[in-house]
Subunit: 343 residues, 2 copies
């Protein structure tokens, strides 16, 4: 059972075949960065066409049982997620709609301040906004996982604590291994895992020690250190593979529609594009290298199976269905909006 | 020359006739609270129909000269504004588009955190966001006035300082006269006026001392105190008149689409609706009462004329056109986004 919990490749038959060659059973694919609701629906439509066209290679997964079906039929299950809340625009009612359409993960922010929380590129972080608290509760209700991969530290800790259900950092690495703005400090990872959440390790060079030159051993040793600190059962892969994307795509990711100036994000004026991937992880075909690397640094068979996919599978199992009403009543934090008549 | 720089009435022939009876030469009307771009265009369309239907009573104003035409033809000039940046969604390119369509004021926030800045109902305020700084510069460029009436203190001060052109608080009163969350502390008013900005006094009962029971004398005495502190030339009227609106409208203003729970805003569970207006300002017909009240508390003819409309007229004159390119080059603050290759 191998699962990659974050990819944004330039999808093609070639890549879907590589998923099969690499024996990747499920991939969480990003279908929105800055797209509004209608634009996101167009992306669902595009995937529906691919599911029809490549039905021998891929199928949609809405519940964890769909991944079992995919395995039995030698296909890769595709799960949908957003790296920004832009698909719900300013409308809390769209949370249930996008879940119904198939979205299973939504970041509360990309790099900037959103209506819900603060992104990791803002100068300051006020945590969850008024709308943010309302939306997290609604995501908990319907079974849409809160993803804080691109959010600032305080916002991430507040989301982990405020959320009634476990949240995820789908694609990032520990800051103390590679001090990138996008990587996570120990207190942030701790807040996520102590609430039952997951951390998916990223293979995106800007998140790696020595960037594109990072070795498999260095990467897997980092995973071993993280397992010692936080427990291997909370760890998985979220490779952030952006295979075959032109540099215009990373410009769109960084700049969307919010600025007329160039924002280089994790890059810089002299390295504005996508960095080359490490030679040992260039496509889905290389998934097996990760398993070998994990065994080499001393993970046993069970721990390795967990990190390679089983942990995400178990997380999906408890995350994608609607929360039982009783639980909601019991666990709902007191409303921020209630006011008595003296107010 | 009488100008009301903020109304959101339930528009009708009756109200347009009352504008004429009250000799109101220009009204800045709100056409968006939570509307997205397309919904805002529908509101422009509705006004186009009213301009056609009631061409003897009202006309659109895009530049200050249109107000002169309105006066010469005994009509009321209508200016458009937004109380939220929702019409530009996440798209800085829409700033120039909405200005071209006729928008002349835009609040960077309503009550909540926006993509641009922090609203006065949030627990904390981080000031202008990354997108906020980009959008303020673009508003300066095209001639769309930054309005901070519903914004939090730090965001308002930062906007006043960061903006290359004077900004406005179109409808609020001093906090020390009526300590409402929506009213403004002296340091906030100071930041706006010292940059050449304007403060429009609100007649909305939740912003008044003694609310609906506030007297004309108390209101005008407050204006006199404010003129002593900040200078009469920075003051005008922004009545926030919501005449003939059903309570469902104030619910929409407060809750938009961001919450499934009731938010009472400035009201409360036992006073959820629109409060009754003071008896001396129930409609546009009562505009003359303000002039009498201002003279009674000792304002001279020139000061009174300024507060009743001339100050807004002069502000419009320098605010609605595109900024000269040279000025932009000279005054543009250094970009937040520039990064050298060491980054």
């Amino acid at each position: 059972m191998w699962i990659d919990n974050l990819q944004y490749a330039n999808w093609s038959e070639k890549i879907f075949r590589q998923m099969r060659e690499g024996r990747v059973d499920a991939v969480h694919v990003t279908i929105a960065y800055h797209e509004n609701f209608r634009e996101t629906v167009l992306n669902f439509e595009q995937w529906n066409r691919w599911f029809e066209q490549y039905s021998d290679l891929i199928m949609p997964a809405y519940v964890v049982a769909d991944i079992d079906v995919a395995r039995e039929t030698n296909r890769t299950a595709i799960l949908f997620g957003f790296q920004n809340p832009s698909p719900i625009e300013d409308d809390i009612g769209l949370v249930e709609i996008v879940h119904r359409l198939g979205a299973r993960f939504m970041q509360l922010t990309y790099n900037n301040q959103s209506l819900l929380a603060t992104g990791c590129y803002e100068a300051e972080d006020t945590g969850l906004t008024r709308m943010g608290k309302q939306v997290v509760r609604e995501m908990n209700r319907v079974g849409l996982v809160v993803d804080m991969s691109h959010s600032a530290d305080r916002s991430t800790i507040e989301a982990a604590d405020y959320s009634e259900r476990p949240i995820a950092i789908t694609h990032a690495n520990p800051f103390d291994w590679a001090p990138a703005l996008r990587n996570k400090k120990d207190d942030v990872i701790q807040a996520v895992v102590q609430n039952g959440g997951m951390l998916g390790f990223s293979l995106y060079p800007h998140h790696l020690k020595d960037k594109s030159a990072c070795t498999l051993e260095s990467f897997c040793t980092m995973i071993a250190r993280t397992a010692e600190k936080f427990g291997a059962q909370h760890l998985g892969i979220g490779s952030d593979l952006c295979q075959d994307q032109p540099d215009s795509i990373v410009e769109w990711m960084r700049m969307g529609r919010w600025t007329k100036e160039t924002d280089y994000g994790e890059g810089s004026a002299c390295a504005p594009g996508f960095p080359p991937m490490p030679t040992w992880f260039e496509s889905n075909k290389d998934f097996g290298n990760l398993e070998k690397g994990l065994r080499t640094v001393g993970f046993n068979e069970e721990e390795t199976a967990g990190i390679m996919g089983r942990n995400w599978y178990c997380f999906y199992e408890s995350s994608f269905h609607a929360a039982p009403a009783e639980k909601r009543l019991l666990n709902s934090p007191p409303s921020e909006l209630k006011k008595n008549c003296s107010a």
